[in-house]
Amino acid sequence: MSTGKSRLFYTFGPENASFKARVEELSGENIDLCFQCGACSSGCPLAQEMDLLPSKVIRYAQLGIEEVLDSKTIWVCSTCFNCEVRCPRGIDIANVMEALRQMVLRKKYDRVRLDKLTPEQLRELPQVAIISNQRKLSA
């Protein structure tokens, strides 16, 4: 991911401002409240599968860096709201993750395709799993 590069100087340009505004509009969250304490990341049950920790995703969003949309993290999040309960600043991080997913899904992207599931999977999996998975990860 290109976002992993360290930058000595960072300019917050108009494109960053508009990306950040879109995230805030879609999520309904004031992401500037985050002061990087890391409580969300430490409590996340799926953090080990993520390329960016949840707290870092928030930082990227604060800085309006659109490449955060290429992160695996937004697709690994299972919306369990552990971060929401832990955040001392009252940010519902799951809402921010949803906003970022939606920004990608609304370009007709499917992370998981129903027609790619095998007959065995369709037989084995409970409906609640398939439907929620499709709701979260397909356009």
Binding site: F81, V85, A94, Q127
Partner: protein
């Protein structure tokens, strides 16, 4: 009161449905299944501009109001079991009451439906039991689960997000109270509210098995006989996914996972169809037989 079972309780979680209906009947709690219910949507629409995904849950709430108007049920209340249904219906209901603009849009789209007034209360079956009183549950027990060590597993959506749950998000008691009323020995594990991996089980099978394995590992270390669940997705990830865990973790030993209502049916000494443990994986029958419970 009106009962919304949701899709999974009619297919892979029939045992949850059967034990719920039977346990309620045993306590004289009258559950009337919603006529023509539809999918709740399974997950709440978190994006601020999302209106479309409110239609499914709101339509179900309209059915509840209709049932009340027709005198089928005495209270404007709907009880659910699946944690996902509970969360989705409850959040849509609260949004309907708080967001007038959104409700206006929903009304415009659903022009063929009667207007939803927002007056239905969405409750989980555990809350119904709590309101009936633990003493009432205790009095109905004919075969106490003496010496049975049970870990209550809450998962996510019964308790979170904060303000939408059935109990305190950090230190819940409701599940423990029920199990104690049934006579079981309740064991506490730190991961009782940690996510089981949820819907990621569809395309991230190994990861989900790993996440759920950590929960079961704690249950085993605590010396649990059973893990009790309250959600068909938790049940699948903690139960059925043990097939995957056996492959991933050499030496892994199965631990039976049952719905809390199945434990109620056992303690109330209800008929075999109500306990329905033949549908659980791993099979809890050997252990139940050993303890003289079936």
């Amino acid at each position: 009161m009106a009962y919304y079972p949701g899709c999974t309780l009619k297919t892979t979680a029939k045992n949850f449905d059967a034990s719920t209906v039977a346990a309620a009947r045993a306590l004289d709690v009258d559950l009337v299944e919603l006529p023509r219910w539809n999918c709740c949507g399974t997950v709440h629409a978190l994006a601020r501009d999302d209106v479309m995904h409110y239609l499914a849950p709101i339509r179900n709430l309209i059915r509840v109001e209709q049932m009340h108007e027709e005198g089928v049920v005495g209270e404007k209340k709907v009880v659910t079991q699946c944690a996902m249904c509970f969360n989705t219906l409850k959040r849509a209901n609260l949004a309907a009451n708080e967001d007038g603009e959104k409700m206006g849009k929903i009304r415009d789209i659903m022009e063929k439906e009667p207007e939803y007034s927002g007056s239905v209360e969405v409750v989980h079956f555990l809350e119904v039991l709590q309101r009936e009183g633990w003493d009432r549950v205790r009095q109905r027990v004919v075969r106490p689960l003496d010496g049975l060590k049970v870990v209550p597993y809450y998962g996510c959506l019964l308790l979170r997000p904060r303000g939408y749950g059935i109990d305190d998000a950090d230190n819940p008691r409701i599940f423990e109270d029920l199990l104690e009323a049934l006579g079981a020995e309740v064991l506490d594990i730190p991961y009782k509210t940690k996510c089981c991996g949820a819907y990621q089980t569809v395309h991230m099978k190994e990861v989900t098995a790993e996440v759920s394995h950590r929960i079961l590992e704690q249950a085993s270390e605590a010396g649990a006989d059973f893990v009790a669940t309250a959600c068909p997705l938790c049940q699948f990830n903690l139960g059925d996914r043990q097939k995957e865990m056996a492959r991933l973790f050499p030496g892994f030993e199965n631990i039976p996972v049952v719905y809390y209502t199945q434990l109620m049916a056992l303690a109330f000494d209800l008929e075999e169809e109500a306990i329905a443990v033949d549908q659980n994986y791993p099979d809890p029958r050997p252990l139940l037989g050993e303890r003289g419970l079936i």
